[in-house]
Amino acid sequence: MKKRTWILYLAFRYLFPQKRFGTFFTWISTAGILAGVTLLTVVLSIMNGFDENIAQKLIQINGPIKILSPALMPDSDSFKKSLKKAAYVKAVTPFAQGITLLQHFNRVAFPKCIGFDPHSVQQVLPLQQFVEQGNLADLSKGAFVSAALAKEFDFHIGDTVDLYSPMSLEAIKQEELILPQEVPIVGIFKTGWADIDRDTLLLPLPLLQELYGLGNQVHGYSVEVDRKHIQEACTALNAILPPSLTAYTWHTLNKDFLYILRMEKAMCFFVLLFVVMVAAFSMSSGLMTTVIRKQREIALLQTLGATQWDIALIFSVQSMLLGALGTVLGFLCAYGVLSYRNTIVHLLTGWFLPENALWDFYSVETLPVAYSLQDFAAITFFAILVTFGASLFPVIHLKRLPIMQHLRGE
């Protein structure tokens, strides 16, 4: 055994003495780090889960790539065919959108309307999974209303609504008679994306084209591509598109929003790291006690050939070992907690809240979780860094103690 190896062994033995299962200091320090790491892992993994859900929903609602332009673009078969020739592109579907005035008896609303091509939309956007009532195949016959809007107006399948568009204003200027579009409601949908669920109508594209006087033109295309090559597909599309049109990935389109999510997570990490730091502080004071209690032994180690660096190493390694142990156990503990997260949340809400209050409010059926290797690496790195820091103070203090005096005896 080399000298350094033996120093590491001694550090290990100080924490786990022969014939004993660790010391009080070992386990209490580990427990502190464990608590911090568990908390960090649980919170970050749930945040990852939500982020992943959000990303997934953004793609489901918008498609992985959207082609947009300040100008209108054609809704012609030849144009669609040319788009589909781009690398990695699988399907395209046109859309148009705008605000309309909705009237139902004596109540009005200004819902956002999105017009989809009933024949091709499902090749790109899996909207059927958001449908609560009705069948997406009926989109060509009428409108799907979003859940909150449906609730507000008490809409049911079979009701009809009157829609007025900005085109009606033109008609008023020309002093023409304005006739609204009477549109039957064929379904109700809910995406879980509050902004959309509040007041949105899904209409057949031809109807929206008519309301907005678009003729045979659309506002944009949603594009389905090979999900592993979204960026490449976007580049390929931009290469063939005329200069006035641009393809954007969902990532680019939601850049600000995704940035906020990332910031939020970084802040969370930073704040929760303090829990680990508090644990490290208490570890530091425990280590200080050990250092002072073991001065004679340390002096003796020096008479046997240990250098001051070796001694410093003994205590820093102890501290980092505790950090590593706490981290590993913390990961296991977090995995346990996350595996039973729904049971745990159910129990907690059962005690404190009326049934389903939480689910109704946050509109999640289960807490999503996603594990990220990057997070694990960051947590491990910082836990060990912080515990190493915890050992610095005792080690520096040790260098100032006149430990050799203790060898003289009383």
């Binding site: 032994e297 002096a299 020096q302």
Partner: protein, 220 residues
Amino acid sequence: MVAQPILQVNQLSKSFTPPAMLWQGVSFSLAAHESIAICGQSGSGKSTLLFALGGLEPVQSGTIEFNGQRIVAGRYRYTPGISYVFQHYHLIQELTVAENIFMATRLNPSAASPDPSYTETLFSTLGLKPLLNGTPSRLSGGEQQRVAIARALITQPKLLLADEPTGSLDEATGAQVMALLLQICATVQTGLILVTHNATFAQQTNRQFELKDGHLYEKN
């Protein structure tokens, strides 16, 4: 027989509070395998001298040559070839007895791994064999000091510096351990400088010194 001295001390002086000297003009030499005793009143500076000889305590002036090499008595400098036994045993409770003994060979980069027959002699003379796998906390004071002696000698040092090694033992046990210490030093041929209050123990070494009024006198 004129043995080559392993330790040559020349005009050594030490002061904690200059100008008052703790001791000065300390000179003597120690032949290989020789054992000497240093007696003196409490506070006369025996421990300080012993530490200075091993290079653990700086001195004001004078030279120490160990094994042909100058010991620069600096700040806690470790000198290979010199081992210590103290009044307290300073065994590491977290290790087994065997690990406590062998740690001396791990920490001393220049120590060769001890050869089995040497180890065998050491352990059987000191009666340690039944204790090796236990932990120090279960041992009596005498047993612990025997472990500490084995730890000091496992590296086959040329010189053993012992500072009142029986200071915390009762008389009978102390005598027993002292007899073992002298015997093992003779057996493995280690030089010994023994600091003790006990005249009987001192008599059992080759030569006796006394530290008195800041000077070291050889007794005849």
